[in-house]
């Protein structure tokens, strides 16, 4: 993963390639256009998710289903 920051969804190829470089995975393969397309889809979903997250949603570090539903 890249550093702890929000990722914009309208990055051009060069900006996207910079993200891959930073992650230690330079995009040099012939499949790079398909990888960029998929990356844009993931970034769009991440943006959607940020919009859906209530401001007061609990912080969490692990997923424990019993603890999550126990109060109910």
């Amino acid at each position: 993963m890249t550093s702890d920051r929000s990722t914009p969804t309208d990055l051009n190829d060069a900006q996207l390639d910079e993200l891959f470089e930073l992650a230690g995975l330079p995009l040099t393969c012939e499949d790079a256009p398909a990888i960029r397309d998929l990356a844009r889809k993931f970034l769009a979903q991440a943006a959607l998710l940020r919009e859906s997250l209530p401001f007061d949603a609990e912080p969490t570090h692990v997923f424990d289903i019993a603890a999550t539903v126990r109060p109910l």
Partner: protein, 454 residues
């Protein structure tokens, strides 16, 4: 001739009408004859022969390990078997596993006989079968031009093709339930943490589940009972006392409250499948259950959460080898793993926060009023192997990887193209016995698939 059920096999073994050695030899004959299905990556003939001989000696001497004693089974290629490399269906040169995964140890302790490892989609990440891997993709026993779905593809093909009655799969985003539905068999994704994951190649540890694929719900229940339990070697393993599933089958379902999540699929997928889901809800009413429609949080929110978590965690696991050995990955696997690089730590943490919120919302909306949820599983049938994935089927399986609730997929019909489809039953956490009992009632009283493979 179809294989006997596990219960019938048990009777034959204990009466002396058949031996485990004979049963195992017959299983390998079936597997060899069905090689064109590509259900297996590796066969464990020597290990199986030794285990079968041991089972025969034990049973003759009155040592009875229970309903799986002497019964052949298979495990997905992502699961460690001592002495074999866990390749993830990739070209990565990995050393042989030094010990069996917990699930293999548990099944062996129950006297079951491992006959081999089954095909998967590479590392469980490919959205459709990659055609450039070291093993050919599994073919659907109902029509070999079609996929089995993934990623527990060979496990579903092996059961649907009547090669084994039970196989173990993994499910990070529906990878047990999707192939089970596409192949017309049963798949149980247990509660998160209910089946130990030590020795299983992870894809996304906070979403990964392990469970059985079986010819019937009754057999899935027997297999689940053998592999469920606490394991201190799995940090997510739950230490919870639960009711065994197999002994719960046959309980009366009169008065059971079932929430039908009809709105989750009312405008999606194939009309015949939507109609079959409505029929299933009505049929359960006829069995005495009380069925009412329930509203759930938007399914797409769960899909978004799951996608971000899965892609971020899978990239983190593969980051080093993607950089150092890109040639070891098939094109689709590399593409889907590498693209996760652009997600940030904040994105993953946001997804985990929303996950908790969605889990609470779904649980409150469904399980304060109902005992079991009935939902769609996959709103289409298995695509052709040469399908390019541009018009994918819609799935309703991801939500329960996000929430961790147990989910049972079982067949409810066959489409006009001859391929099966199914439904999903979900219960509160750790109540697998409830959905197995309900599924068993459905498969014995409402719908018995006539053709589970050919």
């Amino acid at each position: 001739v179809k294989q006997p059920t596990i219960a019938e096999t048990g009777r034959l073994l204990r009466s002396g009408a058949v031996t485990a050695v004979q049963l195992t030899e017959t299983t390998f004959q079936r597997i060899d004859a069905a090689a064109s299905l590509s259900a297996f990556t590796t066969l464990t003939r020597d290990r199986a022969a030794a285990a079968a001989a041991r089972a025969d000696v034990e049973l003759r001497n009155g040592i009875d390990r229970g309903p799986l004693h002497g019964v052949p089974y298979a495990v997905k290629e992502l699961i460690d078997v001592a002495g074999l490399a866990t390749t993830g269906q990739s070209r990565l040169a990995l050393p042989p596993a030094s010990r069996d995964a917990s699930v293999v140890s548990l099944l062996d302790a129950a006297g079951a006989i491992l006959v081999g490892k089954t095909t998967t989609y590479e590392f469980g990440i490919e959205p459709r079968p990659g055609l450039d891997g070291p093993f050919p993709p599994a073919r659907n026993p109902h029509n070999p031009d079609h996929t089995t779905g993934g990623s527990s593809s060979g496990s579903a093909a092996a059961v649907a093709g009547d090669l084994v009655r039970i196989a173990v799969g993994t499910d990070t985003g529906g990878s047990i339930r999707g192939p089970a539905v596409y192949c017309g068999v049963v798949g149980l994704k247990p509660t998160y943490g209910r089946v130990p994951r030590r020795g299983v190649l992870p894809l996304s540890p906070s979403l990964d589940h392990i469970g059985p694929i079986a010819a019937t719900v009754a057999e899935a229940a027997v297999a689940f009972d053998a592999i469920a339990g606490h394991d201190p070697d799995d940090s997510a393993s739950a230490d919870v006392d639960t009711t065994p599933c197999a002994s719960s089958l046959g309980n009366d379902i009169a008065g059971l409250r079932i929430g039908y999540a009809r709105r989750w699929h009312q405008d999606a997928g194939e009309p015949a499948i939507r109609a079959a889901l409505d029929y299933a809800a009505q049929a359960l009413t006829a069995l005495g259950a009380v069925v009412e429609e329930v509203e759930l949080p938007d399914a797409s929110k769960f899909d978004t959460v799951a996608t971000i978590i899965l892609q971020a965690e899978a990239f983190a696991l593969h980051r080093e080898t993607l950089a150092s050995h890109p040639e070891a990955y098939g094109k689709l696997a590399y593409r889907h793993l590498a693209a996760g690089a652009v997600l940030s730590a904040a994105d993953r943490l946001h997804a985990q926060r929303l996950r908790r919120q969605l889990t609470r919302d779904l649980h409150a909306q469904a399980f304060t009023r109902c005992d079991v949820l009935l939902t769609a599983s996959v709103l289409g049938t298995a695509p052709r192997l040469d399908d390019d994935g541009r018009t994918p089927n819609q799935f309703r399986v991801f939500p329960f990887n996000v929430t961790g609730h147990p989910a049972l997929a079982l067949p409810i019909g066959v489409a006009a193209n001859g391929l099966p489809f199914g439904m999903q039953l979900i219960s509160r956490p750790f109540e697998e016995a409830l959905i197995c009992n309900l599924g068993h009632a459905y498969e014995t009283q409402i719908y018995q698939p006539r053709a589970r493979g050919k």
